[in-house]
Subunit: 215 residues, 2 copies
């Protein structure tokens, strides 16, 4: 993985030129985040599969639209995999407490795990937010924290698990979401701890061995 | 803002072709996230400045490398602006509790605010993580939660504030980070609440009116 930040002239076709050079080097752009500041755009890119990064960098630097190229550490190495927690505020906060405390213990030993949350209610809102998890980078697992979730939220959970392979932990709650989750946990702090354990590289906790169980 | 998800053939040059069509329409790609699944890549893009989106969509659909194009809701409308919290686990969890509880109150009334965290210690690690906040999408504010932060972390805070305009709240702690933050707050729960209030669109709390103060 090659991670670079470029200062690029804010003109149409700049990305086309850059993407062309990267494609010539067999590179596959997996992530771009752009911030524009007037004439210049700052383009952060993560690129896979580049065989000769030094040659690529010098060709990018020689493009007319490119002012500067810096090599950075990829975001996954800095922030790691993400536990996403969504649902009612009180319960999201408790799951986050468990997950942050457990992630702290992992990160102190050199891992990197983030805990990202959004308090959100309503079937439509939550179903949409669950589906959109597939568009977020670095997601390891989703925890649904609430007292009643079903219907379209359950459909979105199934889609996320089946089409995108993202595992889902549900609190023990009313509605059909617990039926379609990988794991059901009653205590929100434990749900957060288990979510971190499940995506940890150091893991002795194998989600596939407890799939379908309720704690 | 036009948000689309495309199923694209996983071949070199696919993005170049797509970027070319978008540039021809005056579009500016501000975000790309790619997931590859064998022959097909799923490309999520957020594009600004497109005047005739329907024509763009039909031209994208007619490209050889593009199998399917779906219009989606932009991530900012689903997950909103982000409060980022980093530092020691115990304090990150307390700041998160305040921020999640306050975000819940805002989101129930129709806003969207996320609270994203990483427990992390060490001057180098934290300085790098603070700097990398500039590469994350949708960041509204950063809260540093710990008992001692200074040196390179303070330099990174200054860079984030001055070069990227991202405000920083610091807990009242030892080290030089409180000196360079926009706001210093002693109680971690209040720090989280104030962070959400500061980036809320509904805000009666104006960070610029309390800048440099210590609570």
């Amino acid at each position: 993985m090659l991670a670079i930040s470029m200062d690029v002239e804010n003109v149409p076709g700049a990305l086309k030129a850059i993407a062309g050079v990267i494609a010539d080097h067999g590179g596959n752009i997996v992530h771009i985040q752009q911030d524009s500041e007037g004439e210049l755009a700052r383009l952060y890119m993560e690129i896979e599969g580049v065989e000769r990064p030094k040659v690529l960098l010098s060709e990018l630097r020689s493009l007319d639209v490119v002012r500067e190229v810096r090599v950075l550490r990829p975001l996954k190495e800095i922030y790691g995999k993400r536990v996403i927690v969504m649902g009612g505020g009180a319960q999201v906060a408790e799951v986050a407490r468990g997950a942050i405390t457990e992630a702290d213990r992992h990160n102190i030993r050199g891992e990197r795990i983030s805990v990202d949350t959004i308090p959100l209610v309503g079937e439509e809102n939550l179903a949409e937010a669950v589906r959109a998890v597939a568009r977020l980078p670095r997601v390891g697992i989703l925890v649904l924290a609430g007292s009643l979730m079903g219907g379209k939220i359950a459909e979105a959970v199934q889609e996320l698990r089946e089409e995108h392979g993202i595992p889902v932990i549900s609190l023990n709650m009313a509605g059909s979401v617990p039926e379609v989750a990988d794991l059901v946990v009653t205590d929100p702090v434990q749900a957060g701890v288990m979510a971190v354990m499940a995506i940890s590289d150091a893991g002795v906790f194998d989600l596939s061995r407890v799939r379908g169980r309720k704690f």
